[in-house]
C-alpha cells in the first residue's frame, strides 16, 4: 500500500506528462504483478465492490476523529472530497503496516460476509495503522470514489514502455469486463485473440472539434485550407445520443457505452437485431430515443439512463433505436485497419440484411460537392435534432482515442442567453473551497427566476474574482449554498431547451455553460423568461421540419 500511496502522491506532485509517465513506470517495475493489475483496474475504473456503506464509514470516521458531526460536514465542504476529509481529520497513526495493495483489496472483499461490528473493528484498526497519505488512498478504495480520468493514457504509455507492447494494443487489452482477480499480468502481456474475452470492446475513435470555440467560426475557405478537397471527405449528422459499441460474438451480445460501462440490459429494444447479426460483428454508433422514425431530444433519453428498472412506462415513453456509423469487426476479423469507405460498405451490407431497420438504422451520408454546400447544410442541424456535422476522411482507419487528422466534429453554435448569478456553491476537487458552481436567473417581470446551473467556462482568474465577489456579497447561507446579491451578468450557452415540470422556471437547458462574463451589462439588461420560452416554441416547431 505504501508504494501505491506514494504513486498517488508522486502523480499529484507533478504537472508534467513525462514525469508522470516516469513515476508510473517506476511503480510498474517495483511492485508484484498482482499489485500491477490492481492498480490498472483502479486506474481504468474497475473498483472493488463497496463493502461498507457510506453512512457507516462516515459515522465511524467521525468517531475516530473525535469531533462533532456538523464540524465533520463543514470540513467536508471545505475539502471537497470525502476520503481526503476523513484522512485529514483523524489523529496521526500509532503503528504502520506493510500490507500490499493486493492484500488490502483482498481484506476489503473479505468483508462481504462480516457483520457490522466486525467491519467496524477492522476499519478502526486499519485506520490506526495507516499514515495520512495511505489513509487517503485507502478511503478512496473503501468509498469506491476512485476516479482518475485522463490519466489512463499515461498509464498505457508507461505500461507500453515497460512491456514493449504498443499502446493501441494495450489500450484494447485493458478494455472489457475483466477484474484483477481473474486477469493476470502474464495474460495481459501475452499475444491475444478476440476469443480471450468475447465481451471486449475496441477503444473508441473520437473526433476533434474543428473549431475550438463558437467564437472562432470556421468558414468554407478555412475548411478547405485545413482539410483539403471536399471530395476526400464524407459527412454525417452529429447525433446527440449515447455513443455505444455493440458486439455480437459466439451467440452473445454486449452493448458498451463510451464510459466503458456495460449497458446491454439498459437497451432491450436493441437485442433482437443484435442477436440476428452474424457472429464476430462489432458496430459503433449512437443510441437515441426515437418516435415515429424521428430522433427525440436528448433529455427524453436522459429520463431512462440512470434508472435501475426499465418500467413499461419508460419503455413506451422513450423507446430507443441506434444510428450506426461504423463497423469495427466483421466475420470475426478486426477491420479497423480498413478505410472509412471500405468499412462503410461492410456496414451498408450488414444493415441492408437486417429485419429490423427501424432499430438498426444507418447514419445517412450528407451529399455535398463543396465546403460551401456543406456549410449551408450545417444550418439544418437543429432541425435534424443533430449537434452539427461529423467529417470523416474517406481513407481514414479506425484509430484509438481522440486523434487529430481524420475525424472532426463541426458543431453548431450554442444558443445563448444573458443571465444574472443568484446562488453560488463551492466546487470539488481542484476547485474545493472556491465558489465555482453558480445558479443563474432571468427576469420574469420584476422577479429573477433561477433557470440553470453552470460550472464551467470561466478562467481560473475569473473564478477567483467571482469567488471574491461571492464572499463579500452574500445575502443568505443555506448549508453550502449562498444567495448572492444579484449583480454579475454572464452569457450562458446551451445546446437545447425543453419544458420541465421539475424546475420553477418551467424549462430545462441541455449542457448549460458560461460563455463569458458580461462586465458590460448591468443586471437590468439580462434576458427574460419570456425570451427563453420563445426559444422553446421554435424548438418544438423544429421537431417536425416537414
Amino acid at each position: 500500500m505504501k508504494a501505491f500511496a506514494n504513486l498517488f502522491l508522486a502523480l499529484d506532485e507533478t504537472n508534467k506528462t513525462n514525469e508522470k509517465v516516469k513515476v508510473l513506470k517506476d511503480y510498474f517495475t517495483s511492485v508484484p504483478d498482482t499489485d500491477k493489475m490492481h492498480m490498472l483496474a483502479l486506474f481504468t475504473g474497475r473498483r472493488p465492490k463497496r463493502q461498507i456503506n457510506a453512512t457507516l464509514i462516515r459515522t465511524w470516521a467521525i468517531e475516530a476523529s473525535n469531533i462533532p458531526q456538523w464540524l465533520f460536514e463543514e470540513s467536508y465542504h471545505v475539502v471537497g472530497d470525502l476520503a481526503e476529509t476523513m484522512s485529514l481529520l483523524m489523529p496521526a497513526s500509532e503503528s504502520s503496516s506493510s500490507k500490499s495493495l493486493t492484500e488490502w483489496i483482498a481484506e476489503i472483499n473479505n468483508l462481504a460476509d462480516k457483520n457490522e461490528e466486525e467491519k467496524k473493528l477492522w476499519l478502526m484498526e486499519s485506520w490506526a495503522m495507516l499514515d495520512s497519505q495511505e489513509r487517503f488512498v485507502f478511503n478512496k478504495l473503501l468509498t469506491g470514489s476512485f476516479r482518475i480520468g485522463v490519466l489512463q493514457n499515461l498509464v498505457v504509455k508507461a505500461l507500453a514502455d515497460v512491456t514493449g507492447i504498443e499502446a493501441p494494443a494495450l489500450t484494447h487489452r485493458i478494455m472489457g469486463k475483466w477484474m484483477p482477480e481473474d486477469y493476470t499480468y502474464e495474460q495481459l502481456v501475452q499475444e491475444q485473440t478476440a476469443s480471450d474475452d468475447i465481451s471486449r470492446p475496441y477503444p473508441f475513435f473520437l473526433a476533434y472539434p474543428i473549431q475550438e470555440t463558437s467564437e472562432k467560426q470556421k468558414s468554407a475557405e478555412d475548411l478547405h485550407l485545413a482539410l483539403g478537397d471536399a471530395s476526400e471527405w464524407q459527412a454525417e449528422w452529429k447525433w446527440d445520443g449515447i455513443r455505444a459499441q455493440m458486439i455480437k460474438r459466439d451467440g452473445e451480445i454486449f452493448i458498451w457505452s463510451r464510459g466503458e460501462d456495460l449497458a446491454t440490459e439498459k437497451f432491450p429494444e436493441l437485442h433482437p437485431f443484435l442477436y440476428d447479426l452474424p457472429d464476430g460483428t462489432v458496430l459503433d454508433g449512437e443510441i437515441l430515443s426515437f418516435s415515429n422514425g424521428k430522433p427525440l431530444p436528448f433529455n427524453v433519453l436522459q429520463t431512462r439512463i440512470g434508472r435501475k428498472n426499465l418500467t413499461k412506462k419508460i419503455l413506451a415513453e422513450s423507446p430507443v433505436a441506434t444510428i450506426v456509423y461504423d463497423c469495427l469487426e466483421y466475420g470475426r476479423e478486426d477491420i479497423r485497419h480498413k478505410t472509412q469507405s471500405e468499412r462503410r460498405q461492410v456496414l451498408e451490407k450488414l444493415q441492408s440484411q437486417t429485419s429490423d431497420p427501424e432499430t438498426f438504422r444507418i447514419s445517412s451520408l450528407i451529399q455535398f460537392d463543396t465546403w460551401q454546400q456543406l456549410e449551408t447544410q450545417r444550418e439544418q442541424s437543429r432541425a435534424m435534432i443533430a449537434e452539427g456535422i461529423m467529417l470523416k476522411r474517406k481513407s481514414a482507419t479506425y484509430q484509438v482515442g481522440r486523434r487529430r487528422g481524420d475525424w472532426w466534429k463541426w458543431k453548431i453554435d450554442p444558443l445563448s442567453v444573458d443571465a444574472v448569478m443568484v446562488y453560488a456553491q463551492k466546487g470539488h476537487g481542484r476547485r474545493a473551497d472556491l465558489y465555482t458552481d453558480y445558479t443563474f436567473a432571468v427576469w420574469d417581470g420584476d422577479k429573477l427566476v433561477p433557470f440553470a446551473k453552470a460550472y464551467s467556462g470561466l478562467t481560473d482568474a475569473e473564478i477567483n474574482k467571482v469567488d471574491y465577489f461571492v464572499k463579500r456579497n452574500t445575502l443568505e447561507k443555506f448549508g453550502p449554498v449562498r444567495t448572492v446579491k444579484p449583480e454579475l451578468v454572464f452569457e450562458i450557452g446551451f445546446e437545447g431547451i425543453n419544458k420541465s415540470s421539475r424546475h420553477k422556471s418551467g424549462i430545462a437547458l441541455r449542457f448549460p455553460r458560461i460563455l463569458r462574463w458580461r462586465h458590460d451589462k448591468p443586471k437590468e439588461e439580462a434576458d427574460t423568461l419570456e425570451s427563453l420560452k420563445a426559444l422553446l416554441e421554435i424548438g418544438y416547431e423544429d421537431e417536425t421540419p416537414d
Partner: protein, 373 residues
C-alpha cells in the same frame, strides 16, 4: 451597560476612550499596527504606532509616514488607555496589541502562530478579558507538521532538483515566509537567490538590525547558470511570469497553509506544495485562545462562523466579527494595497463624521456600501 473599550467599526477596530484604531482599513488619525502586511497596515493614516522591528518594512512599503515604534512589553498611555505590544510569532515585528482601561484588558491578536519559526519573536499568550483573534485556519482539517519536518522535505526536494539538473524556485510571501525559508535552508546545498520584491524586504529588515542568511538579488546581469544551481525565493506574484520561466526547466514549490488540501494544491499547479503557514493551525488557535483565560473571544477573518460555533460548544464565549483582514496567505502581493492613484482617492474620501459601529455578524460588503451613501 457601559460601552465596550474596543468596538468594531467600518474603519477598523476602534477605541473611543483612547481615540485610536487598530489596523484600520480606512484613513484615520491614529493607527496602531499589529504588523506590516498590506491587509493590516494601510496607507493614509496620520500617525502610526508599531513594533521596532516593523519600522523599516513599514517605511519601505508605505513611504514617508509619521511612525512611532515601541518594544514588546513597553507601555504607552493615550487618554488613560494603556497600550502595549506582545509577540505574535506571525512574522518579524508582528505584535498582539494589549489595551487596558480601568482594569479591563482587551487583546487584539493580529495574525499569529504558536510554533516558534526561529526568526520571529515567539508567540506569547497574554491574559485578558476580551480577546480578538484571527482564525484563518479555523477548521480541524488544518494541522501543521513541525517546521523541522517540513524543511527536511524542502531541502530534500532542493537536493533532488540539483541532481536532476532542475532549477529550484520556492514561493512564499515576501515578508515572513521568505525569511523563514531563507533561515531554514541547508546552505551547504548551494546559494540563495532572491526576487527583487523579496530582496527589498530583506534589505529593510537588515536595516532594522535583523541578521539574515546571505542572499543574492537576481538582476538582468545574474548568470542564469549560476542561479539554476542555487535556490530562488520568489513571491507568489511571480508565478507563471516570464521572469520565472527564464529559469526553466525548474521545479517550483509553493509554501502555504492552504496546501494542506489537495484541491488547493492542484489549483496552484505547483510541482510541490509545502504545508507551511505563518498562521496558527486548528490546535494552535484553540490552545492560544484557551491560554488567554478570556471571558469573551471575538473571531475575525477566516472560518469565523464554524470556529465560533465550535468554541461555544466546548465552553468558550465566542462571537463572530467581520473585518477586512485576510488575503496575504492566498493572494499575497495582490492584497488590497492601493495604487498611488487610489491612495489619493482614499485620502479624499476621509471625512470627519464618526465611524459607524457594526453589529456582530453584519455583512461587510453591505456595510461598506451603506457607509458611502
Amino acid at each position: 451597560m457601559a460601552k465596550p473599550l474596543l468596538e468594531f467599526t467600518d474603519r477598523g477596530i476602534y477605541c473611543e476612550q483612547g481615540k485610536f484604531y487598530i489596523d484600520p482599513w480606512k484613513p484615520v488619525d491614529d493607527a496602531e499596527i499589529t504588523h506590516a502586511h498590506a491587509d493590516h497596515a494601510y496607507w493614509g493614516h496620520k500617525r502610526y504606532l508599531a513594533h521596532h522591528l516593523s519600522r523599516e518594512v513599514l517605511l519601505y512599503r508605505l513611504g514617508e509616514i509619521n511612525l512611532q515604534t515601541i518594544e514588546y512589553g513597553e507601555t504607552i498611555v493615550k487618554n488613560g488607555v494603556k497600550i502595549s505590544m506582545f509577540p505574535a510569532g506571525h512574522v518579524i515585528g508582528s505584535a498582539q496589541i494589549r489595551v487596558e482601561y480601568k482594569g479591563v484588558v482587551w487583546v487584539v491578536s493580529g495574525d499569529y502562530k504558536t510554533e516558534d519559526d526561529g526568526i520571529s519573536t515567539p508567540f506569547e499568550p497574554v491574559k485578558c478579558h476580551h480577546f480578538i483573534s484571527e482564525c484563518t485556519f479555523g477548521m480541524p482539517v488544518y494541522t501543521w507538521k513541525p517546521q523541522s519536518q517540513i524543511f527536511e522535505d524542502v531541502n530534500g526536494w532542493w537536493k533532488s532538483n540539483i541532481e536532476h539538473g532542475l532549477a529550484t524556485v520556492i514561493v512564499g510571501y515576501s515578508l515572513g515566509k521568505a525569511q523563514r525559508i531563507l533561515q531554514n535552508l541547508d546552505l551547504n546545498l548551494g546559494k540563495v537567490y532572491t526576487h527583487g520584491v523579496i530582496e527589498n524586504t530583506n534589505e529593510a529588515l537588515r536595516r532594522n538590525g535583523v541578521i539574515l542568511n546571505p542572499t543574492e538579488r537576481i538582476t538582468s546581469e545574474s548568470s542564469k547558470e549560476a542561479v539554476r544551481k542555487g535556490i530562488i525565493i520568489a513571491p507568489p506574484s511571480s508565478v507563471g511570469t516570464p521572469w520565472m520561466r527564464k529559469f526553466g526547466p525548474y521545479s517550483f514549490g509553493y509554501c502555504s497553509g492552504w496546501m494542506a488540501i489537495r484541491g488547493a494544491k492542484r489549483r496552484r499547479a505547483a510541482d510541490r506544495g509545502f504545508v507551511m503557514s505563518d498562521h496558527a493551525d486548528w490546535d494552535g488557535l484553540v490552545s492560544a485562545i484557551d491560554a488567554t483565560d478570556c471571558e469573551c473571544v471575538y473571531l475575525t477573518h477566516g472560518y469565523t462562523a464554524t470556529f465560533t460555533r465550535y468554541l461555544n460548544e466546548i465552553g468558550f464565549n465566542a462571537r463572530e466579527v467581520h473585518t477586512l483582514y485576510g488575503g496575504e496567505e492566498e493572494d499575497a502581493e495582490a492584497a488590497p494595497q492601493p495604487s498611488p492613484g487610489e491612495r489619493e482617492l482614499i485620502a479624499e474620501d476621509k471625512d470627519e463624521h464618526p465611524s459607524k459601529v457594526l453589529s456582530f455578524g453584519e455583512d461587510l460588503g453591505e456595510a461598506k456600501k451603506g457607509a458611502k451613501t
